[in-house]
């Protein structure tokens, strides 16, 4: 019973955000005065980001983990290791590739309507 409740909540929230998005873009944004268009665009984008966040799979939820050469780093651990110039036993090119992969995922989260979800 408890598990069902937990499963249902994100689905309900997603439904609520989708409905809010549909109402806002279909009925509200179009009748706003010209000087509110920028604010409307920001609200629309915020709703898109929220909806995408709810779709995140486990990889997305744990996207602050970096697996480099057998070691797992949290986001803050990797940032500190880089600042301290620690040897993290991974080539420069491989590190850049892994960082890019993470960025591409976050980039999609920030632009879910205009970018395809990376693998």
């Amino acid at each position: 019973m408890v598990e069902n409740e937990l499963d249902r909540t994100p689905s309900q929230i997603k439904g609520l955000i989708d409905a809010l998005y549909a109402d806002f873009t279909g009925q509200i944004a179009s009748v706003l005065p010209e000087n509110q268009k920028y604010n409307a665009a920001m609200i629309r984008r915020s709703l898109e980001i929220l909806a995408a966040h709810l779709q995140l799979d486990n990889r997305g939820q744990a996207d602050d983990r970096y697996k480099l050469s057998g070691q797992t780093f949290s986001c803050s651990q990797l940032a500190k290791a880089l600042r301290d110039r620690q040897d993290i036993s991974v080539s420069n090119d491989k590190l850049r590739e892994d960082l890019k992969s993470d960025v591409m995922h976050r980039r999609w989260q920030a632009n879910p309507k205009t970018l395809s979800k990376p693998d």
Binding site: N35, N39, L82, R96, R107, Q109, A110
Partner: protein, 377 residues
């Protein structure tokens, strides 16, 4: 005569100064400064843009005094939360004065007010200049194909004029002799490149979030300092010279605005910033702010300044431009996330960061692989 003017603009803006409620004290102060017999405010309008500063257009009818006639002026003051690294309004007024005296295309600075009883905070008055500043409109302008090359050449000339100002420059002012207007600008030890890396790391330390991509990119820049760091004497850099911070009318730049970040630096910093991918607004093929080619800019800059540009160094300055804009975006998001200033615009700034991150990683790839040769390729 003083009156309450017609006020337009978004009166519900957070951070609006008391100018919107009562412009009387400002008008009285202006009447004294101009020596006018009569000063009537026909219109006040809050200008768009400026998360850190507020700009108000004042349409005035002045009778008598030093500015007799119809005047369009701009009042510039702090918004609710200024950024710590930005110059104060008095410093910005001095910078504008120095640029104006040097012949840089800027609004004429007229009056500075440090008396907080007038508006509640310092402000200054400058002439209003015609033109469009909105970057997305400018880069999509139908006239860009014809006017873009001349426009970026003019930007090269304006930047060269600005960069002719050094810490040794003395400005001739009417009846006052030479002035060291920019005495307040800090000088730093070593190269501007090393200084920027240290500044960015310090800024990251003040954030509550960790950013491996930015740390990686700063390390990479530090590892390549011998290639791009220049120990030559610094010049005055605007440090926010980009599309969106200058006014364009009929394909010509009418004014360079927003001097709040100006300081002594390496000339290539301004060029890297203007040409950074994050400031092209979708016109990727036009590296100079999404407006024109780099070769047209470079030719005009070098001719006007007599200095050859180090094009290789500009690639590195573009990487730091992406880092700097990412850090500013993170600071803006932090202002919202901490509750200091709730704003959707600030909150969304944080979601811009992956764009800058991918730009800097791609640039590093291109430079490492030898693909990056110059900005037009």
């Amino acid at each position: 005569m003083l009156n309450r003017a017609m006020i337009t603009g978004n009166g519900a803006d957070i951070g609006m100064t008391r100018l919107a409620e009562d412009c009387g004290p400002v008008l009285a102060w202006l009447q004294t400064r101009t020596g006018a017999d009569r000063l009537e405010c026909l219109r006040i309008e809050k200008l768009s843009g400026g998360a850190i500063q507020e700009n108000w257009l004042l349409k005035l009818q002045i009778t008598g005094g030093s500015h007799d006639g119809h005047q369009s002026w701009v009042l510039r003051t702090d918004a609710a939360s200024a950024v710590a690294v930005s110059n104060s309004r008095s410093d910005e007024f001095r910078l504008l004065r120095a640029a104006f005296l040097q012949g840089v295309t800027v609004p004429e600075p007229l009056y500075f007010c440090s008396d907080n009883t007038v508006l509640g905070q310092p402000f200054f008055i400058m002439t209003a200049m015609p033109g469009q500043a909105q970057a997305r409109k400018l880069v999509r302008s139908p006239g860009l194909a014809e006017q873009g090359l001349e426009l970026v050449a003019q930007l090269g000339q304006i930047m060269a004029k600005l960069h002719s100002i050094t810490p040794q420059t003395k400005f001739k002012t009417k009846g006052l002799g030479s002035e060291e207007l920019l005495f307040f600008l800090p000088r730093h030890e070593g190269s501007a490149a090393s200084f920027q890396i240290a500044q960015m790391r310090a800024a990251l330390d003040n954030l509550e979030t960790a950013h491996p991509v930015l740390e990686y990119s700063l390390n990479w820049l530090e590892d390549h300092l011998p290639i791009w760091a220049d120990a030559a004497s610094p010049v005055l850099c605007h440090r926010d010279f980009r599309t969106g911070n200058f006014l364009i009318e009929d394909g010509k730049c009418t004014a360079l605005l927003d001097w709040e970040f100006a300081g002594w630096s390496d000339r290539h910093e301004d060029i890297g910033w203007l040409c950074a991918r994050c400031w092209r607004f979708g016109n990727e093929k036009l590296p100079v702010g999404g407006l024109g080619t780099f070769s047209a800019f470079q030719k005009a800059y070098e001719a006007a300044s007599g200095q050859l540009l180090n094009v290789t160094a500009i690639g590195y300055w573009q990487v730091i431009a992406e880092i700097r804009w990412a850090v500013i975006a993170l600071q803006q998001a932090a202002r919202n996330n901490s509750g200091q200033e709730l704003s959707l615009e600030l909150a969304l700034s944080g979601y811009l960061v992956p764009e800058m991150e991918i730009n800097m990683l791609n640039l590093i790839d291109e430079i490492e692989q030898g693909i990056w040769a110059d900005l037009d390729s």
